[in-house]
C-alpha cells in the first residue's frame, strides 16, 4: 500500500515538472534558431550527394535514400524473409484450412460491449487516416512507409480485439487476400527500384532519374502496403487457436 502511494506521488511530481517545463519554459520547442556545426553539416550535405538527389527536403529521409538506399531496400527483403518464415512454419494445406474454418465457426464467440465496438470503429477510422498521412507524405515530413504501415497494422489489431478474427475473415480479410496485397506492395517497390534500369538506362535504385518525387512516393506507398499486409499476414497466421491447430495436426497424424 505504502509503495503504491510513493509510486503515485513520484509520478505526479514528475509530470507536474514536465508540464511546467513544457508550458512555461517551452523546452520542447526544440531550442532556438542557432545551429551547431554538426547540424549545419547535415543540413548542407543531406539534400544531395554529388549532385544526385532523391528530391526529399526532409533530412532523415534524404540521408536514408541518398546515402543508404540499399540498406533500406534490403531491410524490406529481411522483413519479407521473416514473414515468409512464419508463414511457412505454420502453413496449412487446403483441406486443413477448410477444417480450421469449420472449427472456428463452431467456437463460441463472445461479443464485446456496444460501447467498445462503437468506439473502436471511430478510433480505427482515425488511426487509418493518420497512418495514411504518415505514409503518403513520408518523403516530406517525418514518417514514411514503415511507420505508416505499422500504425495501420495496429488499427487492424484493434479490430481483431474488439470484434474477432472470425468476423474479419468472414468480411474478406483472409490470409490469401493479405498475402496477395503484400505481393502487390513488394511488386510496386521492385518496379520502382528497377524502373531506372529499363526506362533510362541507369543503375538499380537510381530514383533520381525518375521525374520529380515520383520515385520516393512510389517507394513510400509500396512500403506502406507491404508492411501493413505483412504484419496482418503474421497476425492472421498466428491467430489460429492452439487447440484448433492441435486438432488439425492430430488428425493428420492419425491418417
Amino acid at each position: 500500500m505504502k509503495r503504491d502511494v510513493i509510486v503515485a506521488v513520484s509520478f505526479l511530481l514528475a509530470f507536474l515538472f514536465i508540464a511546467y517545463a513544457v508550458t512555461m519554459k517551452n523546452v520542447l520547442g526544440l531550442g532556438g534558431a542557432e545551429l551547431r556545426p554538426l547540424g549545419e553539416f547535415y543540413l548542407s550535405h543531406s539534400f544531395a550527394h554529388e549532385n544526385l538527389t532523391s528530391h526529399s527536403p526532409e533530412v532523415v529521409t534524404a540521408i536514408v535514400w541518398n546515402y543508404r538506399g540499399f540498406d533500406t531496400l534490403f531491410e524490406t527483403f529481411v522483413f519479407f524473409l521473416a514473414i515468409m518464415g512464419a508463414f511457412s512454419v505454420l502453413r496449412l494445406t487446403d483441406e486443413q484450412e477448410k477444417l480450421v474454418k469449420e472449427l472456428e465457426a463452431r467456437e463460441p464467440h463472445r461479443r464485446m460491449d456496444l460501447i467498445v465496438r462503437a468506439i473502436t470503429k471511430l478510433v480505427v477510422i482515425m488511426i487509418v487516416a493518420i497512418s495514411a498521412s504518415i505514409a503518403l507524405h513520408g518523403h516530406l515530413t517525418p514518417g514514411g512507409g514503415f511507420q505508416g504501415g505499422s500504425a495501420m497494422a495496429v488499427a487492424s489489431l484493434l479490430l481483431f480485439a474488439a470484434f474477432s478474427k472470425f468476423t474479419l475473415e468472414r468480411k474478406g480479410l483472409t490470409v490469401r487476400h493479405t498475402v496477395s496485397a503484400y505481393a502487390l506492395g513488394l511488386a510496386l517497390i521492385l518496379a520502382t527500384v528497377l524502373a531506372p534500369v529499363f526506362l533510362y538506362g541507369g543503375k538499380v535504385l537510381e530514383i533520381n532519374l525518375l521525374p520529380g518525387e515520383m520515385g520516393l512516393f512510389n517507394l513510400d506507398v509500396g512500403e506502406y502496403i507491404a508492411v501493413t499486409f505483412g504484419f496482418l499476414t503474421a497476425f492472421l497466421v498466428l491467430g489460429v487457436s492452439e487447440w484448433i491447430f492441435k486438432t488439425v495436426l492430430r488428425r493428420e497424424v492419425n491418417d
Binding site: 514528475a14 515538472f17 514536465i18 517545463a21 519554459k25 523546452v27 520542447l28 526544440l30 532523415v60 529521409t61 504518415i134 517525418p142 514518417g143 514514411g144 514503415f146 511507420q147 505499422s150 500504425a151 497494422a153 495496429v154 489489431l157 481483431f160 504484419f231 503474421a234 497476425f235 498466428l238 491467430g239 487457436s241 492452439e242
Partner: protein, 85 residues
Amino acid sequence: MIELHLLILAIVVSFGFVFSYLAMKEHDLLKALALSSVQSTFFALGFYILAAPDIVLAYLAIAVGAYTALVILAISKTERYEVGE
C-alpha cells in the same frame, strides 16, 4: 547550468528503467507485457526529446501495438504464469 530538456530526458528514461525492472520481476506474463509497453512509451518520449520523430512514430506503433500483440498471441499458445523452479 542544467539544461531542462536533459533533466526531463533523465526523468523519463529512469521511469522506463524502473518499469523494465518491474517487467522482469513479474511472474504473470500478461502483466509483464503491460509493464514493458509502459516502459516503451517512456522511451518513446525520450526519443522525442532527443529530436528523433521518425523513430518515435515507428517505435510507438511497433513496441506498444505490434510487439504486444505478437507476444499476447505467443502467450495464448503457452501458459500465462511463469513457474519458478
